[in-house]
């Protein structure tokens, strides 16, 4: 994670670290958020699956090969999102830096 010494976000984060922790209630499903901040990207899998399920239930003429179509579309979404993420990463961290370093 990139930190900016002296920035308001860094100061806020440091202050939060020093503050006494207030106890949190035990997890209550559907009332409290799940603790998946480190693995948030895994939620792409159920999202792709549920989107595909609904879309194919409407779109297909017949439902004979329904789950095959759903699996294929889910895979396409996941691969597409990974490709988008990778291309954005390359654009921001490689190409933009490459251009900036050569700017007059």
């Amino acid at each position: 994670m990139i930190s900016f010494p002296g920035s308001i976000l860094t100061i806020a984060a440091q202050s939060a670290d020093k503050a006494p922790a207030w106890p949190m209630p035990p997890f209550r499903p559907f009332l409290d958020p799940i603790e998946l901040h480190q693995w948030w990207f895994l939620l792409l899998i159920p999202m792709a699956l549920l989107v595909s399920m609904t879309y194919k239930a409407v779109r297909l003429q017949t439902l004979e090969r329904y789950w095959r179509h759903v699996t294929l579309m889910s895979a396409q979404i996941i691969v597409g999102m990974i490709a988008l993420g990778a291309s954005t990463y390359l654009m921001v961290f490689w190409f933009a830096r490459f251009v900036a370093e050569r700017a007059p």
Binding site: W22, P23, L31
Partner: protein, 193 residues
């Protein structure tokens, strides 16, 4: 206009207002009315699964007509369920502040049942758990409650974003299903779906 029974031929766009309304009432109900029970079950599983997943990820805080109105516009397309969840959120989980109205409870607040007023909690030095001293005119006024947790935890960051997104996508998907049910144009050869 009653739906054409499965097995018949229909090549034109037939407006099905009842199916459209039923699809708004409950995801999949419009297709069930049109005679496609399997398709209806899959739509209901997809749309409701997406909506319930959003609630599970971000908690009830992700459906909030007052604080996140633009997102709620999309979520409302799920139907009365979204309005019901929002009503429960506003009236059963938010605290009522006389000056500013309803808001989510802070981590150190307890929501007093009945009035909805927030009670600032303190930490019990022995147990480390929050303690609330109830106020008002109710029979339990003056008593102490421990542990006094907030009614719900406000989701932040990724979990809030993703929970809100799941619920909103559920609404968008249901819009496709509503349009499909209201303007039924499929089933040229009929199918048992």
């Amino acid at each position: 206009m009653p739906p054409p029974p499965p097995g018949t031929t229909s090549k034109h766009l037939a407006l099905q207002p009842i199916a459209g309304v039923l699809a708004i009432v409950l995801p999949g109900l419009g297709h069930w009315y049109l005679g496609y029970p399997r398709r209806a079950r899959l739509i209901a599983a997809g749309v409701l699964g997406m909506f319930v997943s959003g609630l599970f990820i971000g908690g009830i805080d992700v459906v909030d007509r007052r604080e996140d109105f633009p997102w709620f516009v999309g979520q409302a397309l799920v139907g009365p369920i979204a309005f019901g969840v929002d009503w429960v959120h506003q009236n059963q989980y938010k605290v009522r502040v006389p000056a500013s109205g309803l808001r989510s409870a802070y981590p150190n607040e307890y929501r007093q049942a009945g009035t909805g007023l927030p009670v600032i909690t303190t930490l019990d030095p022995a147990t480390g758990l929050p303690v609330a001293r109830l106020t008002g005119t109710s029979p339990v006024a003056g008593s102490t409650l421990s542990p006094a947790w907030p009614p719900n935890v406000k989701s932040l960051g990724r979990m809030n974003e993703l929970g809100t997104l799941f619920c909103t996508i559920a609404g968008m998907l249901n819009l496709i299903c509503i349009v499909d049910a209201a303007f039924s144009r499929r089933r040229e050869q009929g199918e048992p779906a």
